[in-house]
Amino acid sequence: MSVAAAIKAGDASLLPGKRDEDWRWTDLRGLIRQIPAPSPEGRPWSWDSPLANALDSVSTVANGRGATDLEVLAGETKTVGWRFLSSAEAGSHNAELWVSVGEGATLTLVESYEAAEGGYLANTSINVRLAKGARMERVVFAQDDAEGVNIVDASIELAADAVYGQTVLTNGARRQRIETRVTHPGAHAQLRLDGAYLLGGQRNADLTTVVEHQGLDGATSQLTKGVVRDQSRGVFQGRIVVAEGADRTDARMGHHALILSDKAEIDAKPELLIFADDVQCAHGNTVGALDEDALFYAEQRGMPADLARALLTQAFVGEVIERIEHEAVREAAQAWAASRLEL
């Protein structure tokens, strides 16, 4: 049962829903009675991003069409942009892509999800394989329409000594889920898995991650931050599994959210499942309002309340964005967050 299968078959009963434990907060079956008609070919538009000319190459997948796989050969370095567009005529569409990063190669992948208007059901599956000592940084800008439904799932497989970093930035959609599953071999591979959701109106976003540590000496560092306003809803599900024998695993997970309206909602489920003896694992999960003391402090220095709130909110999210390594991408992410927070 998957979104891809439901779209292919045009059968809404195949969608995951609240009876599936992992989907209980993103109930697609309850939301979508009928799968929209298959999307026609979509006409792409130009990329309104400071990154448009800062990457080695940019390719576009419009309404699920035009996907090409990406291979970075051993020792190569590439920066690549992938745009996934849902055009105004879009109904439902799927795309599936493969990425392979060769031994000692380095890839920076920027994904941008964009839509002309709502009413679409989009699904994208990405399969990533990192060879020994490969490095990859993936930054996702999910900029859906308020009426769109977008599901992105990525499966990441790491080899020994690989370094993988990921940051998902989203402002949500009618329903949206960005899921990442990582198979972690231990073996001094390093994983960073971050996210930030900045939601307003009636938007929803679901950031779900599953990491399976399968061998000795693996590290995972995860930081997700969220800001919800109006009647929006954020979902964070983070699971880290440390298999038997995956000793000397070092795994840290943090999820921290600000609720800026009493009608907004956060659902969080951090899970550490540890079957090994000698591990260092920690998780922290906080949901709250902006610190009133800090707000007063900023106001006393002369910032009107709205400005003080915006500054502190941006700073709250800034901690996630600062962890993006690629400088131009980090700057684009900062600009993206500032515009979403209306600074």
Partner: protein
């Protein structure tokens, strides 16, 4: 300059200030001393407009302008500055960004043009040097991981940068060793000016060896119960607050 008359204020329904009267003329430094729980910090929060500090009676004006009708940012733009007893940590906001944002917000409120980046940097460098603050520290998130003394020094730095007309120093000496105390006091003394006044709130006399007050007031149970010259602070240091606690 600052004029407070019959000020009553409560926190959570408990009356803390019970008819406080105080005049601080321009060019003067006044100290407020008092035992714990007398209402010293409440006074600083009421004057700066903190939420939860409810004024039920009385007036407070700065150069004739009603402070109590303004929100905290408007009061700051009028030139009121509070050096906090416990300065807040602001994760994710470099000190320079924080101060520049505050400075420009104040300027905007006063209808003045924004400070340009080169002007701001020049001022920040000169001010940091005078307070012996490492400039790199100003690029770090404000007060995050700073020691107690560093935080207090950052308060004085912000004060010098924002150049307020009326300064309230709330227990500025707490957490300072003697060397830091001297630097902070020098910074405060450098701001003495004929068109500026200060209210120094302190539990101990020690700070007043370095920041010499023109007048000393004893605050006890929400009222000023005695006023005098600098010698009053020395008397309090010798004899304690007992006499005044009884008088209240």
């Amino acid at each position: 300059m600052l004029s407070i008359s019959n000020l009553h204020a409560e926190v959570d329904g408990n009356e803390i200030l019970k008819g406080l009267n105080l005049e601080v003329p321009a060019g003067e430094v006044h100290a407020i001393m008092g035992p714990n729980g007398a209402g010293k910090s409440t006074l600083s929060y009421v004057l700066t407009g903190r939420e939860g500090y409810e004024v039920t009676q009385g007036t407070a004006t700065l150069d004739g302008e009603d402070l109590l009708a303004l929100d905290p940012a408007e009061r700051a733009a009028k030139g009121l500055f509070l050096s906090f007893q416990y300065p807040l940590e602001i994760p994710g906001v470099p000190a320079l960004t924080f101060i520049r944002t505050a400075m420009n917000a104040q300027r905007k409120a006063r209808g003045e043009p924004e400070v340009t980046a080169p002007e701001f940097l020049k001022l920040a460098k000169a001010t940091a040097a005078s307070l012996r603050i490492d400039f790199d520290m100003l690029k770090r998130a404000l007060n995050v991981g700073f020691s107690g003394g560093e935080k207090k020094r950052m308060e004085i730095f912000q004060m010098a940068m924002l150049s307020p007309r009326f300064l309230i120093l709330d227990e500025t000496d707490s957490g300072l060793d003697i060397d830091a105390l001297k630097i902070v006091a020098d910074g405060v003394n450098a701001m003495r000016a004929p068109n500026r006044a200060m209210l120094v709130i302190t539990h101990y006399q020690r700070l007043l060896d370095y920041i010499k007050p023109d007048r000393v007031h004893v605050l006890s149970a929400g009222r000023i119960v005695a006023s005098g010259g600098p010698e009053l602070a020395l008397e309090l240091e010798r004899e304690g607050y007992d006499k005044y606690a009884r008088a209240a």
